[in-house]
Symmetry: C2
Subunit: 195 residues, 2 copies
């Protein structure tokens, strides 16, 4: 696997607040934050992405539920969370998502673990994999050009799993590699991340 | 305005249940349902879209919050709701969304009411309009080829507004025409509906 992503990290900018609707303590970041508590935050309650694409995480150290954050305004936790079985009001760490020339994004998906079974090449956004003739589970992925987000339900809803070409050597052989919160292999929508 | 949508309603199929996870009373529909209570349901708690794209509504008569439903499984309300300021566990009516040749979808958006201000032609999915240089509000739309969904927050989260080329004469001049639940003109993502 050869990573051909363009690293745009120098241009990334996120602004966070400790109260909803962009109130209270405010801080700007241009690089990753491993633990918001080290910056005087208990948690984040609102944020704006001013440039780049970012990944937000439930727990410190980039663990727990993942949230893809593209440019725009997130006044409350509902704006970044998908819809989940439990309220996820916490965001404790975040980092920029490398690369992504959105127009040239490519990913190969496989039906079964270890890149076995049916194979598909993606280069567009797919709000419903079942509509493309895929089942609703067991999609293992090899992302190149560049970063993608898989979602549990159609229409990009539910748990989000961020797949990057420069993580895991660009290969996700088993759904447990999608992230520490991945409990099933159910994926019903996949799209490119915009930067 | 000339509607050039392909009507595929004959092939649409939705299966609904009155309990979560596809349990309890079950019924199939191939056409619209104005009021689920007339079919013996108090509300819907899970559903599967087997073909076509559908719009689900909070209230009877296709009123209230809108949910775009593409092919796949929706075991609980969190699967079809975006993430909202209040829990929306009710779905009381639904109908097929006409047409949509996904590959040829086109829509013109405008910055201000009555098709004034800056103009943009869309033919792809846009998880972040701010990343495209658009502001976060006041996008009025003229959808052709064929049906689109606008969302309040980036990444297709929050309130959903379904725009169809065969409704409103294919024109949405003011955000109040997006639906009875539209309280602001904030739109930060737009995509085609897949069928």
């Amino acid at each position: 696997h050869t990573s051909l992503c363009t690293d745009t990290r120098g241009e990334d900018r996120i602004v966070v607040w400790d109260e909803e609707f962009f109130q209270g303590r405010r801080q700007e970041f241009t690089t990753e934050c491993y633990d918001v508590r080290t910056c005087g935050f208990q948690t984040l309650r609102s944020l704006k992405i001013e440039s780049g694409a970012w990944a937000g995480f439930e727990h410190v150290g980039f663990q727990g539920q993942q949230f893809v954050l593209e440019r725009g305004e997130y006044p409350r936790w509902e704006a970044w969370s998908g819809s989940h079985a439990y309220h996820m009001e916490r965001m404790s760490s975040f980092r920029p998502i490398a690369c992504a020339n959105h127009r040239n994004s490519k990913m190969t998906i496989f039906e079964w673990e270890n890149f076995l079974g049916r194979k598909g090449d993606l280069s567009d956004d797919y709000p419903s994999l079942p509509a493309m003739g895929w089942g609703s589970s067991a999609v293992m992925a090899s992302p190149v050009f560049c970063s993608w987000v898989c979602s549990q339900f159609p229409g990009y809803r539910g748990f989000q799993y961020i797949l990057e070409c420069d993580c895991h050597a660009g290969e996700y052989k088993h759904f447990r590699e999608w992230g520490s919160h991945a409990q099933t292999s159910q994926v019903q929508s996949i799209r490119r991340i915009q930067q």
